[in-house]
Symmetry: C2
Subunit: 316 residues, 2 copies
């Protein structure tokens, strides 16, 4: 029943950190690492690669940077089966700040870019591959990209040496029919590549859309524990693992770490299904306005948010 | 873009009441009625029809009974465009306790039954139709029904005069591929009937599965405000309305009533995505064990629940 090519990536620390500036304790990251390792998840994205000159450690937690010293605090002494990944944003990391692979516990660098940054993303991904890492390009916010720009980007990606290209629903705007259409387009345009999927849950469709992608042949699947991630969050990893029929995966370590590490964060930050996130998803907008609303002391004033955000739209 | 045959039913009070024994105030029900009416929702299920001799009003709120006096407190003085429905469970209502249609503000009775109760359900639905009501039969827990029993039930339903038959995912166990298969089976077996869909959200698939049913030709769609309903709850009505492209529907009254009436209940009862509900959904079990766990003072002890509930399964 299972498809052996499928690889699952946990994005708990990387995407969840967008909600708290990566202010996760070393214990939190270590426990998530231990659990994903024990559950036989294929990859764990432990944070972002960012230049220390671009961001302050006074403002951002360690997982915005993912230095080897940071990573060691999370993983040392544990028999590492899982591969580690970090995400790099175009313009937020200097090439020279990426260590050669022999000096790093990272196995993969995922380069996130918008459609106009594809050339820069290919160059950075190639650079990471030359340093010894696996690499992907995650083309963000594709729900806002027109057909001609998308086709040009996919043509450029097809000519690159980057082996894994992600379809990303940054705004949680897609229905499963959109995922069908785009998965098929990515696979037709990138016949020699592996396609990945990263969904957001604004319309409670992150898991369903990940399943739709699987049915269409997408093989790299992102999830996070209890769906923690920016705004409405991601595809819940525990649902994804319970769906996949690969007997190597184990659910129990994920339930345990949700109890010990994730549930306490539900009292501190508001990811998941909330009406402001739902509205920006329906409107195919960046969640920043919804996040600002949810961080205010007026977060239950959802009618005010609706009226403000829809004043320039036909949503009634 | 929209399909005019589609009808949407709000189940907020009826299914939500399974979480609080229908202890909703008259104001709550009135405001939900006003909002659904203003949003041009087609039907509102205002509760259950139950015999007063079978249940106590000291234990259960008015919406377990839905007498005409109860209903009038919710709707009097309001220009009623929406149709009203109540659900009847086999064995919990005496025929004589159902008033003739001219004495009632109800437009529809939905008869809920398990597969072994289909004959009794058909008789009750026919009785309601003879009294002047629209009627449906909602065949519950079909995720636990074997093929032969299902085919026999569908044959019986095909021979009945009941015009609307619901596919019900009581345990939140179905993936969209199950909905595809079953929607097609229901439509092929019941070519002269309208098919409905009622989903539960244990795996965050209630909305996605409702969309899958729509794509397969299902035309009666259940939802509830903010997904309120038993256990993980239902398909969120606001998501469903934002998806359907019928310009008659309005989203704003739903957002307003979620703010004024539903958000306060999120502080008192725990419907929605919680790991215990997810686990019973994955295991295709009734949510009662998960509900008992969530009502205990140990609700965050999800590992204990996982270990207890999976001790007789192969979920690891």
């Amino acid at each position: 029943m299972f498809r052996p090519q499928i690889k699952v990536m946990d994005c708990t620390v990387r995407d969840g950190g967008l909600m708290n500036k990566w202010q996760f304790s070393d214990e939190f990251v270590r426990e998530v690492f231990k659990a994903c390792n024990a559950a036989n998840i294929d990859y764990m994205e432990i944070g972002y690669l960012s230049s220390e000159s671009a961001f302050s450690r006074q403002e951002y937690g360690a997982w915005k940077f993912c230095s080897e010293a940071d990573i060691q605090r999370a993983i040392n002494g544990i028999d590492k089966k899982i591969k580690l990944s970090a995400m790099a944003d175009i313009g937020r990391i200097e090439y020279n700040d990426i260590p050669p692979k022999p000096e790093s516990s990272l196995d993969m660098v995922r380069v996130a870019c918008y459609v106009h940054q594809v050339d820069a993303a290919i160059a950075l991904a190639h650079h990471c591959m030359e340093k010894g890492y696996e690499a992907t390009i995650n083309l963000m916010a594709v729900s806002t990209v027109g057909l001609r720009d998308l086709e040009e980007a996919l043509d450029d990606l097809a000519k690159s040496r980057v082996p894994i290209i992600y379809l990303v629903d940054s705004f949680g705007a897609f229905y499963s029919e959109d995922i069908d259409t785009l998965s098929q387009k990515y696979m037709a345009s990138l016949p020699d590549k592996t396609i990945g999927i990263h969904c957001h849950n604004n319309q409670q469709l992150a898991f369903a859309n990940t399943i739709a992608a699987i049915i269409n042949g997408v093989n790299f699947l992102d999830g996070s524990l209890y769906g923690i991630g920016r705004g409405a969050g991601n595809c819940p990893l525990e649902l994804l693992i319970s769906f996949l029929k690969n007997p190597k995966f184990r659910l129990k370590p994920l339930v345990e770490v949700i109890e010990s590490q994730i549930l306490p964060w539900t009292k501190k930050i508001d990811w998941g299904y909330y009406i402001p996130y739902m509205i920006t998803g329906v409107l195919n907008q960046h969640p920043r306005a919804a996040m600002a609303h949810m961080e205010s002391d007026q977060k239950d004033k959802i009618s005010d948010f609706f009226n403000r955000i829809t004043s320039a739209t036909d949503l009634v």
